[in-house]
Amino acid sequence: MSARLFPSQEIGSLQKPSLEALREWEDRVHFLSRLSPIPEEVLRHPDLGTLQNLRAAFSIAYLESAGLDRVYDGEARRVEMYEYAVRQMTGFQFQGHVRSWDSKYYRKGTVVNRVDLIAPYHLEEFDFVRAHARAAVKLPITGPYTLADWSYDEYYLARQPGWKGRPQRRAAQREFVVDLARRVLRPTLQKLIEHGCRVIQIDEPAAGTHPDEAPLVVEGFNEATQGLDAEFSMHICYSRYQDLLPALLEAKACRQWAWEFANRDAEGHDGYEVLKLLREYSDTRSIGLGVLDVHRDTLETPEQVAERIRRAAKYLGDPSKIWVNPDCGLRTRSLNVAYAKLEAMVAGAALARSEFEGLET
């Protein structure tokens, strides 16, 4: 738990700014001063490594300037959360793009051999963030269940005999998830912890895809974190959380649920009511409360954020459990819109904090 009520945190990726955008934002968030001096000529024509450093430093300063208590680098060095991770492994081939919605796509890999880790990843980016951040740092990493669910399987499934019906797919999926957790995630997490990484968010956005596989999500989480000491959280979004409970509660090392709620919170529909279940199950973990809808440009107001926090606090029965964050990564929003949303989130948390602290005195 945090000493201050309703601390704020990032949750995922930000839009990757162009050079022009970086120049414009320098006046607002002053990120260049965090880096060693870069010659003007290099700034005009940076190589990829320099550009990634610029973007990472910008994202850290951007999130801190918006007032967040826990930050990262907007995943500035990652193509996206799936492809970047899979490229750190052997056993995969990429096939092409799959539509997520409208004209948003992601590249999906096929596992064609038993997965293995090339080398632990995210170390360099974590070292950079820790060296350049003033706020606390939280590292997001894609979880084993999501990596398996977002892949096509030609290796583990082919080992199942005959027609590939549901039972065969299930058995293959379990082998795949456990291999990813043991052979890829665990050694990577271990190395990150050795580097000083203390707060780690394991992203499992696919967890809600097959609710009856929630025990497998948990098995992957437990296998990945077994024997490791860090403050782990689990991020899940766009899911019916009630369908995943109580299975999720068996995630032993998880100390926080970072979930999306604002997307489903509309007039006539209370997106936060599902939190009652955590109280009913006497779950003591903190909650990363999604208070910003990341798929719409409409700006939340501080009052709206504060009202969402109040409602969540009522359902949980304990305001000290609540961190606030966007529903998910803000990469589909422009930097201007994302910044305004984050400012509203921080202001809304402050508003709610003042109300609750007023009640306490």
Partner: protein, 326 residues
């Protein structure tokens, strides 16, 4: 030795956008290309897919590449609807915009016809028109209309019936209603009665049409008693989710649709196993006609492996036609 019963095969969902179209639509989204160049990419992709379908199958779709999701054409064009938040599409990593119904729904005449893939307008007799099934549509929408869920379901049945009557007037003959929630969350009691009434409205509106209900996402076994009572021409079930042992004989009037291509894996279906599972299904549930297709939506795959799977689908059909189904 060959089969005397008609065996059809074809797409049962939108086809994935080919890589060139992915690039064009992304560029359009980011302001890096013009609407004219993006349109050119759509036309080329539709034309290439159509050529493949016409070579392999008797029904064509041109891929429905322009549709953002199954519900959007209606949500964007019919009165009473608006387009709502991103929502997960069943157990997949794809999302649709939830339709929000704020008033009694009304059709906008001609709106769906204008949103069908343009090449279908000159191939109406072989086109397969994709529409949302009334039950799934009712289940996924946010109902703020004040009407009960059953009233909405019955309204949608009537409106979809009116729609296929109009489309029938343009020459379209085959209509597929994608209704996966009939098997993922089967209706019971009064809801079951309302589903039957909704489909009766569709059947009454265009009795000469071939109507296909396509289900996927879960085993169809528990829903078969209802599916058998639907007043449609063909009931489609996904064999990649339904164990053949769950099948039992159905009414003679019903054609049997079998989803035999699994878009959740790029692993190609083996010809022998796939032909075998079709034969097993038909042994347990004999049918006068067979409609083969992908089970779940094929656009869960990238375009290239999807194309390979269409070729395999055609191979299965030809093997069954040549060697018989027994």
């Amino acid at each position: 030795m060959g089969s005397n019963r008609p065996i059809y095969a074809g797409l049962t969902s939108p086809f994935p956008r080919p890589e060139r179209l992915v690039a064009a639509t992304r560029d359009l989204d980011r302001g890096r290309t013009t609407p004219e160049l993006a349109e050119k990419a759509f036309v080329e992709a539709e034309s290439e897919l159509l050529a493949l379908e016409e070579r392999l199958f008797s029904n064509v779709t041109a891929g429905y590449l322009r549709w953002n999701d199954l519900f959007r054409p209606i949500a964007e064009s019919w009165v009473g609807f608006t387009v709502g938040p991103l929502t997960r599409w069943l157990e997949t990593n794809t999302f649709f915009r939830q339709p929000i119904l704020s008033a009694p729904p009304r059709r906008t005449a001609g709106a769906i016809a204008s949103r069908l893939p343009p090449p279908l307008a000159t191939r109406t007799s072989t086109a397969r028109v994709l529409l949302p099934g009334p039950y799934t549509f009712t289940q996924v929408l946010e109902n703020r209309s004040g009407a009960s869920e059953f009233e909405v379901l019955l309204s949608l049945g009537r409106l979809l019936g009116d729609e296929i009557r109009d489309l029938g007037g343009l020459g379209y003959r085959v209509f597929q209603f994608s209704d996966p929630i009939l098997v993922t969350d089967p209706p019971e009691g009064p809801a079951e009665t309302a589903v039957l009434q909704a489909y009766q409205s569709i059947a009454d509106a265009q009795p000469a049409a071939t109507t296909v209900v396509w289900t996927f996402g879960a085993g169809a076994g528990p829903a078969l008693p209802l599916l058998d009572r639907l007043p449609v021409s063909v009931v489609g079930i996904d064999l990649t989710d339904t164990e053949p042992e769950a099948l039992r004989p159905g009414p003679e009037r019903l054609g049997l649709g079998l989803g035999i291509i699994d878009p959740r894996t790029t692993l190609p279906e083996t010809l022998g196993d796939t032909v075998g599972v079709v034969r097993e299904a038909l042994r347990r549930r004999p049918s006068a006609s067979v409609w083969l297709g992908p089970g779940a939506p094929l656009d869960l795959l990238p375009a290239r492996p999807a194309e390979q799977k269409l070729l395999r689908l055609s191979d299965v059909r030809h093997t069954l036609l040549r060697e018989g189904v027994a």
